[in-house]
Amino acid sequence: MDRTYLPVLLLFGFVALNAVLIIGLSTLVIRRRPTPVKDTPYESGIPPLGDARERFSVKFYMVAMLFIIFDIETVFMIPWAVYYRQLSCAVPMVNDACPLGNVSFFGLGEMLVFMAILVVGFVYVWKKGALQWD
C-alpha cells in the first residue's frame, strides 16, 4: 500500500483510540451512584413539567436545511484548495513549481462558477423570505 495515506490512517486511528479510551476508561473506573432525583432533568432547581421533545415550528427546520446546504459548499472547497496550485498551472508542474509564464486562472474560475451557482440559490432563498425569522 502506498505510504502516502499512512498519516491519514494514523489520524483516524488516534481519534478512534482517544474516544474509546475516554469513554471506556471512565465507565470502568467510576462507581455509579444513581438516585431518583439525580436522574430527573435539571431545570433551575424545580421539578420539570411536560417534556422537552415538543413539536417545534417549521421555521427551525428551514434554517437547519439552509445551513447544511451552505456548509457542504465549504466542504467542497477543501479538495479544490489542496490542488489549487496544479489547477492554476496550464502545463504539468515541474518539482511542484509552475514553469514561468503559463499560470492560468482555471482554478479560480472553476471555483467562482461553483460559487455563482450557489449564490443564485442563496438569492432565491433570501427573496423567498425563508431567512425572515418571525
Binding site: 432525583v37 435539571y42 432547581g45 424545580i46
Partner: protein, 208 residues
C-alpha cells in the same frame, strides 16, 4: 459530613504500613491534589453574601488563584455548592434538589451566618442553617464574610479534600433522606439546634 457523627472512625488515623500500600496513597495524593486544585464552585447566591462572593471572584480578591474561577451554574459540572446567603423555607426544596443532582465527589461551603445558622433571621420564614437540609463541610462565619474569610474557608475545604482516602468508600456514598420526613437528620435534632439561644429570646416581645 452532616451532623450525625460518623459511626466508625472518630479521627482519621493514618499510618501507611498497616492499612494501605505506598502506591495507593500516592495515587490518593495525586487525585486529591487534582481535585483540590480545581474545585468548580456552584454559586448558590441568594442574598448579600452573593455580592461579596462576586467581589471575591472579581479581580482584587481573585478566586482564580484557587482554580475556582470557572463558575458552573449547572449542578452537573459542579464540585462545591457555595450557599451564599439566607435560605427561606420556600427555597429549601430547591437547594436540596440541586445538592442531590450534583455528582459525587461533592462538597458544600455554607457562606455567611444566615446560611450557617439562620443568622439574624430567627423567624417563621428562614431555614435555621442549611445543615438541617444538606450535609455541610465548611461553615464561613460573617455577615457578609469578607472575601478573605471566604478564601480561608476554601483553603480549609482544600485541606479536607487532600486528607480523603479513596479506600474509604463510605465517604462518597449518596445519602438518602428518609422518605417520611424527607430529612437527612432526625426532626428532634433539627428542633434542638434551631432553638434560639442566649438573650435572643426576650427580644421577641412585640410592644413594650
Amino acid at each position: 459530613m452532616g451532623l450525625a457523627p460518623r459511626p466508625d472512625a472518630t479521627s482519621v488515623s493514618f499510618d501507611p504500613p498497616s492499612q494501605e500500600g505506598w502506591i495507593t496513597t500516592r495515587l490518593d495524593m495525586l487525585v486529591n491534589w487534582g481535585r483540590a486544585g480545581s474545585l468548580w464552585p456552584m454559586p448558590f447566591g441568594t442574598a448579600c453574601c452573593a455580592i461579596e462572593f462576586m467581589a471575591s471572584a472579581a479581580s482584587r480578591f481573585d478566586l482564580a488563584r484557587f482554580g475556582m474561577e470557572r463558575m458552573s451554574f449547572s449542578p452537573r459540572q459542579a464540585d462545591v455548592l457555595i450557599c451564599a446567603g439566607r435560605v427561606p423555607f420556600k427555597l429549601a426544596p430547591v437547594i436540596r434538589r440541586i445538592y442531590q443532582q450534583m455528582p459525587q465527589p461533592k462538597w458544600v461551603i455554607s457562606m455567611g451566618a444566615c446560611a450557617s445558622s439562620g443568622g439574624m433571621f430567627d423567624n417563621y420564614a428562614v431555614v435555621q442553617g442549611i445543615d438541617t437540609i444538606i450535609p455541610v463541610d465548611v461553615y464561613v462565619p460573617g455577615c457578609p464574610p469578607r472575601p478573605e474569610g471566604l478564601m480561608y474557608g476554601i483553603m480549609m475545604l482544600q485541606e479536607k479534600v487532600k486528607r480523603e482516602r479513596m479506600s474509604d468508600t463510605t465517604l462518597r456514598d449518596e445519602m438518602e433522606p428518609d422518605p417520611s420526613s424527607n430529612l437527612y437528620i432526625r426532626p428532634s435534632l433539627i428542633d434542638e439546634i434551631s432553638e434560639p439561644f442566649g438573650n435572643s429570646v426576650h427580644q421577641t416581645r412585640s410592644g413594650l
